[in-house]
Symmetry: C2
Subunit: 216 residues, 2 copies
Amino acid sequence: MAKEQTTSEPNILNAIKEQTTPESNILNAAKEIFERKGMAAARMQEIADEAGINKAMLHYYYRSKQLLFEAVFKSAFSTLAPQLNEIINAENSLFDKIRNFTNNHVMFVVNHPYLFNFIIQELNRDPDFIEKLFSEKLPNIQKFRDQVDKKIKEGIIIPIKAEHLFINILALNIFPFIASPLLKGFLKTDDHAYRQLMEERKTEIADFIINSIKIK
Amino acid sequence: MAKEQTTSEPNILNAIKEQTTPESNILNAAKEIFERKGMAAARMQEIADEAGINKAMLHYYYRSKQLLFEAVFKSAFSTLAPQLNEIINAENSLFDKIRNFTNNHVMFVVNHPYLFNFIIQELNRDPDFIEKLFSEKLPNIQKFRDQVDKKIKEGIIIPIKAEHLFINILALNIFPFIASPLLKGFLKTDDHAYRQLMEERKTEIADFIINSIKIK
DNA sequence: ATAAGGTTTAACCAAATGGTTAATTCAGTA
DNA sequence: TACTGAATTAACCATTTGGTTAAACCTTAT
């Protein structure tokens, strides 16, 4: 089992500065491969190559493919959860939330191109996974629900269940990226034109949503 | 290689009536497994078991896993394409299209629970696949574009690119199903309540879209 | 220097998996 | 009835793959 380094100052300092412990090196390589190919198609040898180490090291630090995968999944989910949490728990107004999330989302996807696909694909393979690993620390939607209901009472937006609004915000933002090959095909759009479309959606989506729920 | 049966009337009639040729039997079993597990995780033995035949028969009729997979993918895509085509090429009015598609979509997904996930997952694995197999017979969006532009000129809907509207319609309909485990987790909703939500969306989505683009 | 303990490597292993083959069965035909 | 060619099966094969192991290699403390 990997033992924590008790001494060797230069190593520890370097590791803290650059985050290049063997564990993190392996985890990053595993992220790369798992997120792009999924659990079933990923190969331990490929991860080892990506990390520039021997295949046995993977098992030395993470025991098995399953455990390495779970580490990757947890990390991926921990990257994504705060993003979605913005909608539910941020302090700003409802319309600001929608504009903010929509505006930030494109860049988030550029930085994590396979993340949503990976999470959704693996959760469909094992839907209980999310409960098994995150049952306690999933956010509570109640705050968002209160916010929506308040706006409805104030006559600012039309009646709509917070759940539906939440789903709609995510759908309009996330779907175009996870279904991009399909949409590119149907829209007969090349990569450049599609990126252009996504850029437009930064404002398009928020307008679309707000226009739909706002009472004029 | 499988030889077409030249005689034996009862067999042929039966096959035509019931669609139970060995090929179709294998294809159905392969659909079941491939669509649920994806190419990488699917096992030829499992498909053979599902079809109730020997593993060698799969290769006898379809040569290789890759070719069997491609047959399944083509079939799956041919099931889905007309569905999406409804939006683009149906003869009815824009609002009717939106209501129609949205209303039908829930039942379509119930009948083909893994279809969208499968297509999207495998297209992300190999984005060129859609071009390789369907380059010619993909629908042309021009008709839909004309329809949208006309409604804009008539002052019935606000200015919006047909591409964005098309993407939005698909996103709002399809996403809640492919991301259902994630959404169930975040909304803390059990299966029954989630199905209830999807039922509500049959009308909710169309209202949401039309409300957003219609000039009042 | 050397003993100790974590780290790294090369070689190896067993199970799984896609695919093949030779033999057998079966249906239709002459 | 015997022949012919397709359909089917059981056994087999080669490769891939996740995982293990024993030996070698540091690094550090005594």
